[in-house]
């Protein structure tokens, strides 16, 4: 296994990887949320934020998540604050889950995640449609929701490996 010395600069960079990934995913033109494949897309920031908020990762500053949301809105062209609201709501629900859970269960987390992304996407859709008069494709939301839910398991596995490498 990879062993990292804790005073090493590489280790420090490694601990900031989740935030780094979050920023790259919102700043990059190639967005996993809007892949140019018909009936396939998933919301990577939701998965990342939910996982690290549940795991109470020390480097995962909510203010940085909030700023990432603002950047995402600017890049995508959504009204400023919409993504920040979504990301902060994910953090709130994840924090609630962490506080309420005594014995963590992956399957329960998984379905809880489905519930919260459905709720947040519904809020998103409603705000954009009713308040900002955006013409939106509801099928996109359904497909995106479904694949985000499906990919929770493999991505959780990868993130677990990442945390394991840090803790070792």
């Amino acid at each position: 296994m990879i062993s990292l010395k804790k005073n090493n600069w590489f280790y420090k960079l490694y601990t900031w990887l989740p935030i780094l990934f979050l920023y790259i995913s919102v700043l990059n033109e190639f967005d996993l949320n809007y892949i140019n494949i018909e009936y396939f897309s998933f919301n990577f920031p939701f998965l990342l934020i939910f996982y690290f908020a549940v795991k109470e990762y020390s480097r995962f500053d909510f203010l940085l998540v909030f700023i990432a949301g603002l950047i995402n809105d600017t890049v995508v062209g959504l009204p400023l604050g919409i993504s920040s609201l979504s990301y902060i709501l994910v953090c709130i629900f994840a924090s609630y889950l962490r506080n309420i859970t005594i014995r963590p269960n992956l399957i329960k987390d998984w379905f809880y995640f489905l519930f919260i992304i459905s709720l947040i996407n519904s809020i998103n859709y409603s705000v954009l449609f009713f308040f900002f008069s955006f013409e939106l494709d509801i099928m996109f939301y359904a497909v995106n929701n479904f694949f985000t839910f499906l990919l929770y398991m493999p991505i959780t596995y990868l993130f677990d490996k990442y945390l394991q490498a840090i803790n070792d």
Binding site: E29, I35, S58, G77, P79, G81, L128, D137, F140
Partner: protein, 403 residues
């Protein structure tokens, strides 16, 4: 029951209000800030707009930098594909170029005809200048099919400015910052373009389908049948949103549904043209108030003067060359004249020599014949003849002794 409710409340309070380790703000604070930002961004205050422009500038540039590796990989892939198809494309392009060149001539004729017609109806002509802009962010989003370009209000772009790829319309500016703008593409769900369909001159509106094509909507039902497959759609100019006569795409009819395939592939945009328009009014026909102090006009005048100076410079240079050439020609003419005179003299001399030679030959002939026929022609005693040296004698000798 009561304890489970307490747990719930504690969990809620903890989730919302408790600041975790190393967290600077509680989630509730951030939630309120998000909602506040949504409301503020919807208000049209100058300070908010300026702040938003600054944020946009920073984020767009950052996004461009972050996307460099991805764009490099993407472009490399397309370059490899391009090289592998190079020869085929070359042949195709050559053929296409021939066709386009012939069409170009036709277009020039149509443009000049159009200008003449506009002058006839005493209309103003629009002088447009297209400025090249680089696409700095091309974000594939289902909500908004938009691109960010590196030209903004400082370059003269404003909301509604038409944007082109080559000569094809691709969209219009919906948001301007100082040095960047957001362009709403024609394929967006929120985009609607009034078009004319030819043949038939049918008026319709194209709505983007959120993918890479559009759909013909808002057309009279009885006209729907008149639309032919592969018809051409170009902007009608209705509503003054887009300039008229710009090619948009080719139509395809599929089970009563009419789609439009745009000429431009929106996923491959790298550089675009933004058209800045200014009205040029014919001063002889229409009296207008012209603001002479605008920097735009000043710069136009400066450009015109520069062009005229350049033209004068070129004319002077050409004139000097002509004078020099003329002098050379004059001296060359003189030389040729002298040569001509010399040659004439030589010819005269030669002609004289030839004439002398001819005379000598005639004299020689006479002497030869004289030797043979002098006895026949000479007068002796009672013999009939002529006196030697007379012209008759000479004639008799030349006619070989015949009288």
């Amino acid at each position: 029951m009561a304890s489970s409710r307490d747990d719930f409340i504690i969990a809620i309070r903890s989730a919302f209000l408790k600041k975790e380790t190393k967290q600077k703000f509680s989630l509730l604070t951030l939630l309120f800030i998000s909602i506040l930002i949504i409301f503020l961004s919807n208000l049209n205050f100058k300070i908010i707009n300026n702040l938003r422009s600054v944020i946009n500038e920073v984020v767009y540039r950052s996004s461009f930098i972050v996307s460099v590796p991805e764009n490099f990989a993407y472009n490399s892939y397309f370059k490899i594909i391009e090289y592998s198809n190079f020869y085929g494309e070359y042949k195709f392009n050559k053929k296409e170029l021939d066709n386009l060149q012939s069409k170009d001539i036709l277009n020039e004729i149509i443009i000049s005809e159009n200008k003449e017609l506009k002058n006839l109806i005493e209309d103003f002509t629009l002088t447009t200048s297209k400025i090249l802009a680089k696409v700095i962010v091309d974000h594939e989003s289902p909500f908004l099919k938009t691109i960010i370009i590196n030209k903004g209000s400082q370059d003269g772009l404003k909301i509604g400015t038409n944007v082109y790829d080559k000569n094809y319309l691709i969209g219009r500016v919906i948001e301007t910052n100082f040095k960047s703008s957001r362009v709403l593409l024609l394929s967006d769900l929120n985009s609607s373009v009034p078009i004319s369909i030819t043949p038939g001159n049918i008026q319709a509106i194209v709505i983007g389908d959120g993918e890479n094509s559009g759909e013909i909507k808002y057309i009279k039902d009885n006209l729907l049948e008149d639309i032919q497959d592969q018809s051409i759609g170009y902007t009608s100019g209705t509503g003054d949103l887009f300039k008229s006569g710009i090619p948009v795409g080719r139509l395809s009819v599929d089970n009563g549904r009419v789609n439009i395939n745009f000429y431009t592939d929106f996923t491959q945009l790298k550089y675009v043209f933004a058209e800045i328009e200014k009205k040029e009014i014919d001063s002889d026909k229409i009296i207008t108030q012209v603001d002479e102090g605008t920097s735009l006009e000043k710069s136009t005048e400066v450009i015109k003067l520069k062009l005229l100076n350049d033209q004068i410079k070129i004319l002077n240079e050409t004139n000097n060359r002509f004078i020099e050439e003329n002098n050379n020609l004059v001296s060359e003419t003189k030389n040729l004249n002298i040569e001509n005179i010399n040659l004439k003299q030589v010819i005269k001399k030669q002609t004289d020599e030839i004439n002398q030679n001819k005379i000598d030959q005639k004299e020689l002939e006479f002497l030869k014949l004289n030797f043979l026929y002098s006895s026949k022609c000479q007068k002796r005693g009672f013999k009939k003849g002529y006196k030697v040296g007379t012209p008759e004698y000479r004639k008799c000798i030349l006619s070989r002794g015949k009288f």
